[in-house]
Symmetry: C2
Subunit: 203 residues, 2 copies
């Protein structure tokens, strides 16, 4: 059996924190792992910013619900799921993904969780697993699944290298330069063609 | 995060080989693990019967496509997937499940595979994993998922016992007697209520 593992942000939806930052009008919230590579530090600074601006979990969810999928992503996912199984491996928070899971007809999702106090303040987060994406692909392979993985950012590279087949998707030039052995595609048509080639391999 | 693992046959769809046997008019094909507990022996006798009756993989698939989901199963799955994630862990063959995966909007599926010769004759099968259901639940738990499992036949008991929460579904009296510690429910409403209780536990 085959399984396709995709990152969510950068392939199917835009970066959540960047879009949420625009929706709530707080530019500091748009910092991502590109500006602060240490995820825990980044999250702590986000929690501070949320507190300062009196933003609650519900405000973030409302802002996330305004985000539109990337152009072409809905058709791509619909067609993909008729051909093979899909898992979304994401470093985002499942509270942001609800609308998208519905739009994409509920693929398997692994994501982190934001923790809120009874008054709705965001007070922490829980990673679903350390190095979760790479660990998940290893586990899927141990379940006799043949795995294709695609993503566009640094936090996907170890997942990509662990999968049986792989490609980058709309990756920044810096990542393409650092991973010249991993092909990069820039459209859903090309990604779909890569997956078709993968599906022709015995499962 | 929570995950519900369900058997396919006996919960959502009737027994495939029983229904296929009726559709192709070959009563011997209706034998299941109830009559022959050794799965490999059972499969070898099925392959013999298929050969004798000149039945090809496509004939089986056509017959499987005529089967209707269990009454209420479509609504149950639709509502379940809005609330949590679903994996189908099945001992059937993925060639029989295609129509159902579409009807159920493509949940994660683990199933076995029938192997065919170029002329379409069924010549063997491939298990996705030995003791696959139990192994899968162990693996999901190792991925920090909280797992609820339900099934109605003997081949589900180890999966049920491995899960964090469980129930039997429409199990024969013999199984209920042998597993008095596992609650058994007989309707989708009751199953849904059990799952609601499970989802209220922290993920």
């Amino acid at each position: 059996m085959h399984l396709v593992c995709l990152d969510l942000e950068g392939i199917l939806v835009p970066e959540f924190w960047v879009e949420i930052s625009k929706a709530v009008g707080v530019p500091e919230l748009s910092r991502t792992t590109r500006e602060e590579a240490n995820f825990d530090k980044l999250m702590k600074s986000r929690l501070d910013i949320l507190e300062k601006n009196n933003l609650k979990l519900d405000d973030l969810k409302q802002a996330a619900n305004l985000i539109e999928p990337v152009n072409g992503a809905l058709d791509f996912v619909r067609e993909l799921r008729q051909r093979t199984q899909l898992a979304i491996l994401s470093d985002t928070f499942e509270q942001f993904t609800e609308r998208f899971m519905e739009l994409f007809s509920y693929p398997l999702l692994f994501a982190n969780v934001l923790q809120a106090a009874p008054d709705g303040s965001v007070i922490g987060y829980k990673l679903w697993q350390q190095e979760g994406k790479e660990a998940a692909v290893k586990i899927f392979k141990s379940m006799n699944l043949k795995v294709f993985a695609a993503g566009g950012s640094f936090n996907n590279i170890s997942m990509l290298r662990t999968a049986d087949s792989r490609c980058l998707f709309r990756a920044p030039q810096m990542i393409r330069n650092k991973c010249p052995d991993i092909p990069c595609v820039d459209s859903f048509g090309e990604l779909s063609a890569k997956i078709s080639r993968f599906l022709r391999q015995p499962g």
